[in-house]
């Protein structure tokens, strides 16, 4: 499926189930999401994480409803399954698309300005460096006898300064690699929108409405 369409669909589904309370639909969405995730052949570790990470907020919300309100078990179930639907539907989109494909699709199909597409992509590709940079900032503090905590302004200050420096380097390098905000570009890899992208998008949404309405009547 076209990456832009895929993400649009995922967000629309998430939005819709935020306002509805049908746990069967949530569950069905989670199952469909899971099946799609399995097609991307995730590692066993990732799969385990995928099951356990949502467990904490999901049970926290469900237990809170049971103990702190009189909304009853049905609503607790709705909240619980809703979180799983969010995560599995979201992961079904992210695990089957690379960020660079998404960005190229957004540029070519959704026509967002290329400066947003490549600015985001360039920054995103620095992610591994960012993780080690945060550790380095904290170590640099310790090495000078100053512990940096989550509430220390210096921690964020250093992070922003690194961002400032890197953004300048990256913007200059991209400019030097011929990137220009206004100029048109050619595309080596064409990302197309095909008729069945529309079909899947609209079809899924229609199906979702039908399901929600159907269960709502029951």
């Amino acid at each position: 499926m076209n990456p832009s369409f895929k993400f649009l669909l995922a967000v629309l589904i998430a939005l819709e189930i935020s306002f509805t309370s049908t746990w069967i639909v949530n569950l069905a969405l989670a199952v469909i999401g899971l099946l799609l995730i399995l097609t991307s052949r995730p590692t066993f570790k990732r799969l385990i994480l995928l099951f356990f990470v949502p467990l904490i907020p999901a049970s926290a919300l469900a237990v809170a409803i049971l103990l702190q309100s009189n909304a009853g078990i049905h609503f607790a179930l709705v909240l619980f399954t809703r979180i799983y639907a969010y995560v599995f539907v979201g992961s079904a989109a992210t695990l089957t698309t690379t960020v660079s494909d998404l960005v190229m699709s957004l540029e070519q199909n959704a026509h967002i300005p290329s400066k947003f597409a490549y600015g985001f992509l360039g920054a995103f590709n620095l992610l591994p460096k960012i993780v080690s940079e945060v550790n380095i900032i904290r170590a640099a503090g310790n090495m000078r006898g100053q512990a940096l905590h989550i509430w220390s302004p210096q921690l964020y200050f250093k992070a922003i300064l690194a961002s400032l420096d890197w953004s300048e380097n990256l913007a200059e390098a991209m400019t030097s690699h011929g990137f220009s905000e206004e100029a048109p570009r050619t595309y080596f890899k064409r990302i197309r929108v095909r008729w069945w992208d529309w079909l899947v998008l609209i079809g899924s949404l229609v199906l979702l409405q039908v399901a929600l309405f159907g269960f709502h009547l029951q």
Binding site: S100, Y118, L121, G122, N125, L126, P128, K129, S132, E133, N135, I136, I137, R138, A139, A140, G141, N142, M143, R144, G145, Q146, A147, Q154, K158, L161, A162, D165, W166, E168, N169, L170, A171, E172, A173, M174, T175, S176, H177, G178, F179, S180, E182, A183, P184, R185, T186, Y187, F188
Partner: protein
């Protein structure tokens, strides 16, 4: 082919209070078309600034041109549309990181060609050729993040070649590149100049190896108000001063049995991604000695220093004063070991030079020793006038000097230096080494220094360890 003409150029980085101190003041010079020019000058003289102006990045990204202009083949730089500029002038930066927008080597090359609106059918041929030219075809599908500094610089050159830029500017491109890769890149550049008539301008502090390649040597003076082309004789003299004194005959001692280990590795394995960098049955670094650590780009020197500082995972055992590094608390660990990062900015915590020094002195393990010596050190390093300066706007060399000084002030028993001498001009280099030697002796420190540049190091270090084929080994020779 393009002639770069600098005419009465003045440039300033405006300060917050509206003042406009001139970083470059009335400079004029012509870099001849098809020539290979080398630009040198003390730290902070404005070489990087000048190069960014020539490549059209300034004043777009920073500062203002207060007078004069730069012309490329008689066209003012500012009059060249941005999208055509890539064909005319391309720049390779000192910092090999944050130079690429995409994730893999191939995609970065394609990105550059797309920007130039090359037809998709022609792209692959140009990518193939560029990679082949720099001899990095095997890196084609690698993640850029996983490349060593030297490899990244090769990729950067490949991008420039694919873009077919006429004029190539290189701002200290070899600062993090080993001698072998440096030779390779230099010979590639020289071939580009001879066979494809590119105009090449390169800035460097280390003039070693250049004499067989360059046509012109330009010198920018310390205050940025005079840019001169040296004549043949003066150029020869300047280069001769840099002839790597033959380091091959310099001999160092090997550790003796009485030496006491401060860092001890047993069955140590270091990996990055799926590559094994170091696999070491046993190895020690010795107390109160200065040890030089060398090895080609990407062999894992930085990774080893990071592992000792608990910033990279390892398997096996790595003991610091008999304690397992991985099990030590950060606070306790960093009182015993400090890492002087390759990138000076990572070391700073405060805003001004004075604040940085004050913080170090406050938490120093030898405050009384440093209290009276700091002014002297600052003077020797030419930092005394910069006390109120914001650290992040110092020049590369100034930052490096400040960084080394403030970490020496901490007087941590074990200090690990990751390429501390890059970006330092000749005199600064000698001063820094002298100060390091004095402090290490007086404060009884242990130092491990990673360095590609070996000039004058025989006077500083006691031992030499090489990293090759995943093994660390003590050797007697310096080269």
């Amino acid at each position: 082919m393009a002639t770069i003409a600098v005419n009465h150029l003045s440039f300033s980085y405006p300060t917050e209070d509206g003042q406009k101190p001139l970083t470059l003041n009335d400079l004029s010079a012509t870099f001849p078309s098809g020539g290979f020019s080398l630009l040198t000058g003390p730290s902070g003289s404005g070489k990087s600034t000048l190069m960014k102006i020539i490549s059209g990045l300034y004043p777009k990204f920073s500062g203002v041109i207060t007078a004069g202009e730069v012309r490329l083949n008689d066209t003012k730089i500012s009059d060249i549309p941005e999208s055509d500029r890539g064909q005319l002038v391309a720049m390779m930066f000192q910092n090999p990181n944050q130079q690429f927008a995409m994730d893999t080597v191939e995609r970065e090359l394609i990105f550059a060609l797309e920007n130039q609106q090359v037809a998709p059918d022609h792209m692959m041929a140009r990518v193939d050729r560029a990679l082949d030219y720099v001899e990095i075809t095997d890196l084609r599908h690698r993640q850029l993040n996983s490349l060593s500094g030297g490899e990244k610089q090769k990729v950067a050159l490949a991008v420039i070649i694919a873009m077919r830029a006429d004029t190539i500017l290189l701002d200290e491109p070899f600062a993090s590149v080993d001698p072998v890769a440096r030779q390779l890149l230099l010979s590639k550049l020289s071939r580009l100049q001879r066979e494809e008539h590119k105009t090449i301008l390169i800035s460097d502090h280390d003039l070693e190896d250049y004499d067989q390649y360059i046509d012109h040597l330009f010198v920018l003076n310390g205050t940025g108000d005079s840019l001169t082309l040296l004549d043949q004789k003066a150029a020869q003299q300047k280069m001769a001063a840099f002839q790597r004194q033959d380091t091959s005959n310099k001999q160092l001692q090997l550790p003796t049995t009485t030496d006491q280990a401060v860092i001890a590795a047993h069955q140590l394995t270091l990996t990055a991604g799926n590559a094994t960098l170091i696999s070491q049955p046993a190895m020690n670094f010795f107390k109160h000695h200065i040890t030089l650590l060398t090895g080609a780009n990407g062999t894992g020197k930085s990774t080893l220093l990071l592992a000792i500082s608990k910033l990279h995972q390892y398997s096996g055992s790595l003991l610091l004063n008999q304690n397992e590094v991985a099990k030590m608390h950060r606070k306790q660990l960093y009182q015993q070991v400090a890492l002087i990062f390759q990138d000076a900015d990572q070391q700073f915590l405060n805003v001004t030079v004075a604040e940085e020094l004050a913080l170090s002195l406050k938490n120093s393990q030898q405050p009384t020793y440093f209290m009276d010596r700091i002014p002297g050190f600052l003077k020797q390093l030419h930092l005394e006038q910069l006390q109120d300066h914001v650290v992040y706007t110092l020049s590369g060399g100034q930052k490096k000097k400040l960084q080394i000084l403030e970490m020496l002030i901490m007087a941590t028993p074990v200090e690990l230096f990751d390429e501390p001498f890059t970006g330092l001009d000749f005199t600064s280099l000698q001063t820094v080494m002298a100060i390091m030697k004095t402090v290490a002796h007086d404060c009884q420190q242990t130092m491990v220094i990673v360095s590609h540049q070996l000039f004058g190091l025989d006077a500083l270090v006691d031992y030499h360890v090489t990293l090759k084929n995943q093994q660390l080994q003590y050797v007697g020779g310096l080269a």
